[in-house]
């Protein structure tokens, strides 16, 4: 009988930008079991809801995660607006959609870069992050912040974008699209990348569904769930289809994210073409009383904010369920039976965002 050994992986590891720990139980080179340990980034920010008034809490909630910060604030604000029955101006909905999709572009490019670094393709890492900087420039010019935007508030958005700037953004997207095409061609066509990713970390459609996979992890296994199709913000006025792949391996998850970049560019262009004139916020008075589950599609999958108000300025409860947390059980399933050398690639393939996961 083969002897079992345990290899610790993390919390500090060269491929991980953030800390998570796995105890990998090995038989020879094969992983038979992976035991995750989390809690290295847990700050307990949900509890700050008791100390901050609900409009101020937006600043906390968008610091749940530095990568998808705008979508966190959007989801929180939508929840509060639903509880209080606030009708947000149409232009604000479109601006929120545009910024959400820019966030998704920057998150996916960041991931493609980190993933390339994880498989040892440093040149491609640099290429992806170079394109990402042009996305960050747009975010900085329109909101004032590179990674933490602070542009969403209860009742609308904080800033408007001028018509000239919107035109310029649409024109610039053509150039960015060309660069992204060149980049994703390497990811999807290169033989060495294909060889490294094909049939690694396979997750079947049934497993993806039953273990609660969300976002690109689920879509890579053929489960077509995309919360944007529920039509929050201005998504109900835009046309797009959920990107799916059927193989469920690391290559499929990479392909989903690569193709979603083009969906995002298309959505931004549609939104810029359809954006109506008008105000971008309305005055909010009173305090929320009631509860709501606010859901949205983050770059990593379904994000849920549960909010309960008690009629005062301080909410009674905020609960954030982030996509990385629900993607950990599928991840453990993917690691079981793989080779030790594939573990870093498989962990990266779910796009782990530990800052989100542990809140």
């Amino acid at each position: 009988m083969t002897q079992r050994i345990v290899i610790p992986f993390g919390p500090q590891h060269p491929v991980l930008p953030e800390p998570i720990h796995f105890d990998l139980v090995l038989e020879d080179e094969h992983v038979v079991e992976a035991l995750p340990t989390i809690g290295y980034v847990h700050r307990g920010l949900e509890r700050l809801i008791e100390k901050r008034e609900y409009p101020e809490y937006v600043y906390i909630v968008e610091r749940t995660c530095g990568i998808c910060s705008f979508i966190h604030s959007l989801t929180y604000c939508q929840g509060i607006e639903q509880i209080m029955g606030i009708e947000v101006p149409e232009r604000a909905h479109f601006l929120r959609t545009i910024w959400s999709e820019y966030s998704r572009l920057h998150s996916h490019l960041l991931w493609l870069g980190c993933f390339a670094d994880g498989i040892g393709f440093e040149n491609l890492f640099m290429g992806a992050w170079r394109i990402r900087e042009s996305i960050l420039d747009v975010l900085e010019q329109t909101t004032g912040g590179r990674v933490i935007q602070s542009s969403c508030k209860v009742g609308g958005v904080r800033r408007d974008i001028s018509a000239e700037k919107l035109d310029q953004m649409a024109r610039d997207l053509d150039g960015i699209q060309k660069e992204i095409e060149d980049l994703t061609t390497v990811f999807l066509q290169d033989d060495s990348i294909r060889h490294r990713l094909k049939n690694v970390g396979v997750l079947s459609k049934e497993d993806a569904y039953h273990l609660g996979a969300v976002g690109p992890t689920a879509r890579g296994s053929g489960v077509a769930i995309d919360l944007r199709q529920t039509g929050y913000a201005a998504y109900d006025k835009l046309h797009f289809e959920a990107v799916t792949e059927k193989d469920g391996d690391c290559y499929a998850r990479c392909a989903v994210r690569a193709r979603e970049l083009f969906t995002s560019i298309d959505l931004i262009k549609q939104a810029i073409a359809k954006i109506p004139e008008g105000p971008v916020d309305i005055k909010v008075t009173g305090a929320p009383n009631g509860e709501y589950f606010s859901r949205s599609e983050q770059p990593r999958g379904e994000l849920v904010h549960y909010l309960r108000g008690n009629g005062t300025k301080f909410l009674a409860r905020s609960r954030i369920r982030t996509p990385t947390l629900t993607n950990v059980p599928p991840l453990v399933k993917m690691i079981q039976g793989c080779e030790l050398a594939d573990v870093p690639v498989i962990i990266l393939s779910i796009d782990p965002c530990i800052g989100c996961m542990e809140r």
Binding site: P17, L48, I60, C65, G66, I67, M126
Partner: protein, 154 residues
């Protein structure tokens, strides 16, 4: 200038940050800012590192890991606390699980402000840290008995 400040290697660790500062640390390495042209290399191994870039307000589960990483780095070494969370806890200061600043656990040489810290200020912080690293190196080479520098040092 010696070999240390000509090619300092950095170790980066996320001690309970929101990862906004972490992605800015990585952004500083990539083509737009490109600190690698100065010989600065991001290493995953604390035993190879000269500069410790650390972000976040540090929670109790991370304390031992940060101490362990710090002790594994060879002398001389400098610690750069990146972002306002690393300096004081920032917006998470009142959270029940945040100790409030890296300097509650290990000594810090340079504080980089910002939420999230911009790549320009991170580069500025690292350059300041390299000056401190150089001084620490000179101080290490002074013979405590004679007060003179050891041979071979410029």
């Amino acid at each position: 200038m010696t070999y240390l400040s000509k090619s300092p290697w950095i170790l980066h660790y996320d001690a309970s940050s929101c990862n906004g500062c972490d992605i800015e640390v990585l952004a500083a390495l990539t083509p737009v800012y490109d600190v690698e042209r100065f010989g600065i290399v991001n290493t995953g191994n604390p035993k190879h590192a000269d500069v410790f870039l650390i972000t976040g307000g540090i929670n109790s589960q991370n304390v031992e890991i940060v101490k362990n990483l710090y002790e594994q780095m060879p002398n001389p070494k400098v610690v750069v606390a990146i972002g306002i969370c690393a300096a004081s806890g920032g917006v998470f200061r009142e959270c029940y699980n945040v100790s409030g600043g890296i300097d509650t656990v290990i000594p810090v040489d340079v504080y980089v402000p910002g939420c999230a810290a911009r790549p320009e200020s991170i580069i500025d912080g690292v350059v300041t840290a390299l000056g401190i690293l150089e001084q620490k190196k000179l101080a290490m080479n002074v013979n405590p008995g004679t007060g003179k520098k050891s041979p071979g040092e410029t």
